[in-house]
């Protein structure tokens, strides 16, 4: 009889270990259950046989006793495989927790090391977080409208002859917009809009200038916004003449104190009476990427032929930009409008992100922070390598005790991922601080920067960066750890020799790469710095101090003709001229910093006629004779304009223009014309003036030609020169009210600060690039220092021996320095090549500096080499102070 007390062997040996290993290659549940049941049947049959059955009978009886064998088997397998799956998972989690705990302890043991590595990663990741949050808000989500991915700006551009170097937007005709809206099937919505300043007189008689936006009733639905109180416009409002107005929330709060009884009240806009019907929340905005918010909203009537319409549209799903543009263009070319246009226009669509003014800078800065992160990675990889080397023995012992390579690699990776986690948290913090600093420092010309937020997408990117960084860096360290066998590492004496070769090469490679990347950034930053220095020291060609531009907004209702506008402006100019503190006043088509263009092709007398239909854009300014004196632009040759009517067809050109077309000769008396339909008369050059950057300091060229403005100024601007120290703004405002009390206050801007503002954007980009470059340089210097210090520490004995053998301290110092400088130099060479290629990113951002500017390259390399020498100083001092006696005895 079997004694159950004895059947189970409490000290049963473990089954052959290979079986347990087999389990790694898949679930063994089936085999296990089969084995178990087979064993049972065997035992039972043996029992029956002992009772006298034949073997066959015994087997049959034993099997029969198990009942429904197949069902039992299936059930057991199901239970076991379920349990095994759960166990595998639990085991993984358990091992992971163990790894994390161990990693945490290891990192904690070397606090200094961990902090340096963590901070390095945090800086690298943080810089990327800050820049990405801006990229994310500005480039990826530039407009706060639903389905932003399908939104595009719609405009027209000349098919050829755009010589301005800028993107030229031709606003579509209102009639064309109506045609598009009626016929375009590629679009769910096409929304025209226009905005301008208007004089608002409230019912209590107070007067102010407001920003009005004209939109169609469908615009509210397009933006997905509902009114805060009241309603938006309807088609009926438009049909009835559109005398309704919707206030914006900020305007309503500041002007009406958020009083809801404002509904139904009337306001006067440019002498027309409107009824307030609603208030829209602050989020309701025109698709302007950088413009100020609108104060009031008025219904747009496409039949009213209001000029200067911008158009934004939302494509239907699955319609490409190209297809949509093609359809709109086809509608245009089929229409009568196309036949009326002299030049050829092409309909274009642009994604909102393409029109972000800061776009190019963001691409540049993103690349820069990417490089900073690379350097940070290099440093941490190097730190990990140094530590792995120091831990070689610990790892070897663990390997000898049975830890598999996989397990050790996993351990190292877990540690670097922990570092990555620290870098992620630190990076989010640094990024948050960085973004705040960035927004606080932003120039006025980039108001959209204030929109940048750290959102979920940004944090995801931060986490992903940290994870990838941790993995890459960890893998590098782990690969290296694996290359050294336990055998080598345990032989203590062989330790330092076996690892130095490969490690030294890898470390040198890391440092050289860091140096190369730093060189690229240094050269780029130097180029931008030199460009900004150029912009700030450039002679604008006129004297901007005390210059003010006064833009009077004359409503079409009261001043319908150009002549009426001109007369009013002229009279106002005469009044202002006599005001105290005003030295001179002139009227022009445009005041700095702005450019005016005339459409056509420039033809100098004596050259062949340009091809018909060429629609170039030619810079010009329409001015009065006293423009040059008021502006302080030097007359180099000839006279200023002598007639104010345009009858004589006189022009002044700048020195650059004269030199380009008549090099070495006088331009006086020469004639040119801007050909549009081929019938234009020739204009005679009566004078040559100095180059003046009235288009802003960042415009490529100074204004080449000045015509008599004549009577047909579209929107004349007054340019006022104030006496030194005088502020004419109050006087100008008062005089204007005297001239016409119904007008809103004029827009007055200080030209000097406006010019400075035109440089503010580029200067901001430069500042950021310099900051990132400094960061990169410091990190790279720390990297070089680390490698040098490590090398000196490793070679203490060798240095000791050399000193004992008679090497002088200066020889030792030179050896150390030579190695550091050699690595930096190698990096610089690679970096210069990289910078020559990478400076393409700066192409349109440099003013007065070539992107291959050798001075910038030299300065970049010089700064790098000096930094490298500085980084070598401490290791050098340590090397020369090695005591031969102590070092040789050590170990």
């Amino acid at each position: 009889m079997l004694d159950p007390q004895q059947t189970p062997a409490p000290n049963a040996q473990r089954a052959a270990t290979w079986r347990r290993y087999l389990r790694f290659w898949g679930p063994r549940a089936e085999a296990d259950v089969d084995d178990e049941l087979a064993f049972h049947i065997d035992m039972r049959s043996r029992e029956y046989m002992e009772r006298g059955m034949t073997e066959a009978d015994a087997r049959r009886a034993a099997t029969a006793r198990l009942g429904d064998l197949a069902a039992a088997r299936t059930e057991c397998i199901a239970i076991t495989s379920r349990r095994e799956r759960r166990m595998t998972r639990a085991q993984l989690v358990d091992a992971f927790v163990q790894d994390v705990r161990f990693g945490w302890r290891t990192l904690g043991r070397q606090k200094g090391w961990s902090i340096v590595a963590g901070v390095t990663l945090a800086l690298g990741i943080g810089a990327n977080t800050a820049v990405f949050s801006v990229v994310n808000s500005l480039l990826l989500h530039p407009l706060p409208y639903p389905e932003a991915g399908r939104i595009a700006f719609v405009y027209q551009e000349p098919t050829e002859g755009n010589s301005t170097g800028m993107r030229v937007f031709v606003n579509p005709d209102p009639e064309l917009v109506a045609l598009w809206r009626a016929n375009a099937r590629s679009f769910e919505a096409l929304e025209p809009y226009v905005s301008s300043d208007q004089a608002l007189r409230a019912s209590d008689g107070t007067q102010s200038t407001v920003r009005s936006a004209w939109v169609l009733p469908s615009f509210a639905a397009f933006t997905g916004t509902r009114p805060l109180i009241g309603r938006v416009f309807t088609g009926d409002d438009v049909a009835q003449g559109g005398h309704v107005v919707v206030l914006s929330e900020p305007f309503w709060r500041s002007r009406y104190g958020g009083d809801s009884t404002v509904l139904g009240k009337s306001v006067t806009l440019d002498r027309k009476v409107f009824t307030v019907v609603g208030v829209m929340p602050a989020a309701y905005r025109l698709p302007r990427l950088s413009d100020a918010v609108s104060d009031v909203w008025v219904p747009l009537d496409l039949r009213a032929k209001q000029r200067g319409l911008s158009v934004i549209g939302r494509r239907r799903p699955n319609v490409t930009m190209a297809d949509a543009a093609r359809e709109l263009n086809a509608i245009y070319t089929r229409s009568d409008l196309a036949k009326g246009d002299h030049g050829e226009f092409r309909t274009k669509l642009s994604a909102p992100s393409e029109l972000v003014s800061f776009r190019q800078s963001l691409v540049l800065l993103s690349s820069a922070v990417g490089l900073v992160l690379l350097i940070a990675c290099g440093n941490v990889a190097h730190l990990l390598l140094a530590r792995t080397a120091a831990r070689q023995r610990e790892l070897a012992i663990r390997a000898a005790l049975g830890a598999s390579r996989v397990r050790i690699v996993r351990q190292l990776l877990t540690e670097s991922l922990l570092l990555g986690l620290a870098g992620c948290i630190g990076g989010a913090l640094v990024g948050w601080l960085g973004l705040h600093a960035l927004v606080a420092m932003r120039p006025d010309s980039l108001p959209e920067l204030a929109e940048a937020r750290i959102d979920r997408a940004t944090l995801l990117v931060t986490a992903a960066l940290a994870a990838v960084t941790g993995l890459v860096v960890g893998a590098l360290g782990a690969m290296h750890a694996l290359r050294h066998s336990a055998h080598d590492a345990l032989k203590a004496g062989a330790l330092s020799l076996s690892q130095t070769r490969g490690q030294r090469r890898l470390r040198s490679l890391l440092v050289v790469s860091e140096m190369a990347v730093s060189t690229v950034l240094l050269v780029g930053a130097t180029l931008l710095v030199r460009s900004i220095v150029h912009l700030q020291t450039i002679d604008p060609g006129f004297d901007p101090r005390g210059l003010y531009a006064v833009q009077v907004n004359l409503p079409r209702t009261t001043y319908p003709t150009p002549a009426a506008r001109r007369t009013f402006t002229q009279q106002l100019a005469d009044r202002i001229r006599t005001a105290p503190g005003v030295r001179a006043v002139t009227i022009a088509a445009g005041a700095p910093p702005s450019r005016s263009f005339t459409i056509g092709a420039l033809q100098v007398e004596g050259t062949p006629d340009p091809k018909p239909g060429t629609t170039g854009f030619v810079d010009y300014n329409g001015v009065s004779p006293d423009f040059f004196r008021t502006m302080g632009i030097k007359l180099l040759e000839g006279t200023t304009l002598t007639d104010t009517t345009r009858q004589a067809r006189q022009a002044l050109v700048n020195a650059g223009f004269a030199k380009k077309y008549w090099p070495g000769q006088s331009a006086l008396g020469r004639r040119f014309r801007v050909v549009y339909d081929g019938k234009e008369e020739w204009t005679t050059i009566v004078g040559v003036v100095a180059d003046a950057f009235t288009g802003g300091l960042t415009s490529e060229a100074s204004t080449p030609m000045y015509y008599t403005s004549g009577q047909d100024l579209f929107e004349p601007v007054l340019i006022v020169r104030a006496a030194a120290g005088a502020d004419p703004i109050a006087n100008v405002r008062a005089l204007m009210t005297q001239a016409d009390a119904s007008l809103g206050p004029p827009t007055i801007s200080n030209i000097e600060s406006a010019l400075q503002r035109s440089v503010a954007g580029p200067r901001f980009t430069m500042l950021l690039l310099v900051v990132f470059t400094m960061l990169a340089l410091v990190l790279a210097a720390v990297g070089l220092y680390g490698v040098m210090a490590y090398a000196v520490a490793q070679q203490t004995r060798e240095i000791g021996i050399r000193i004992a053998l008679g090497a002088t301290r200066s020889t030792i110092a030179k050896t150390v320095l030579r190695r550091g400088v050699a690595m930096a130099f190698a990096g610089a060479v690679v970096g210069v090549l990289g910078a020559r290629w990478g400076s393409k990113l700066l192409e349109n951002m440099l003013y007065g500096v070539q992107r291959t500017d050798s001075a910038s390259f030299s300065i970049g390399v010089l700064v790098l080499m000096l930094t490298a020498v500085a980084a070598c100083l401490v290791p050098m001092r340590r090397a020369v102070s090695v005591d031969p006696l102590v070092s040789i005895k050590a170990d």
Partner: protein, 113 residues
């Protein structure tokens, strides 16, 4: 033979398995034999449900399985009781004792007239 007796047994099978394993680790056949012997072959363990029951107990963490070698040098899967199994055994035993006692009382008590 799915009659009342075996159904009744199913609920108590877990308890008997746990009790058996409380003496020493055992393989499935050993457990079956022990129960049969203890009850003088009155209770025949329905083997079709024994193994699923064992696997379920293992899944619940009440017992632990390990491959080992019997004294006849055969490979067999041995089960032993875990700490959780011991606790469960104590609980089930108390419950069973009270239950059996209650049933017995019902069987023994005759109505008084």
């Amino acid at each position: 033979m799915p009659d009342a007796t075996t159904d009744f047994l199913k609920g108590t099978l877990d308890l008997m398995v746990l009790k058996t394993l409380s003496w020493a680790p055992a393989h499935g056949y050993g457990i079956a034999r022990w129960i049969e012997q203890c009850t003088g072959d009155v209770l025949q363990v329905e083997e079709g449900s024994l193994y699923p029951a064992l696997h379920k107990l293992e899944e619940r963490g009440l017992i632990l399985a390990e491959w080992g070698i019997t004294e006849h040098n055969r490979r067999a899967k041995f089960y032993r009781l875990t700490a959780a199994g011991k606790k469960q055994l104590a609980l089930s035993r108390d419950y069973w004792a009270r239950f059996a006692g209650a049933v017995f009382k019902v069987l023994e008590t005759a109505p008084t007239r």
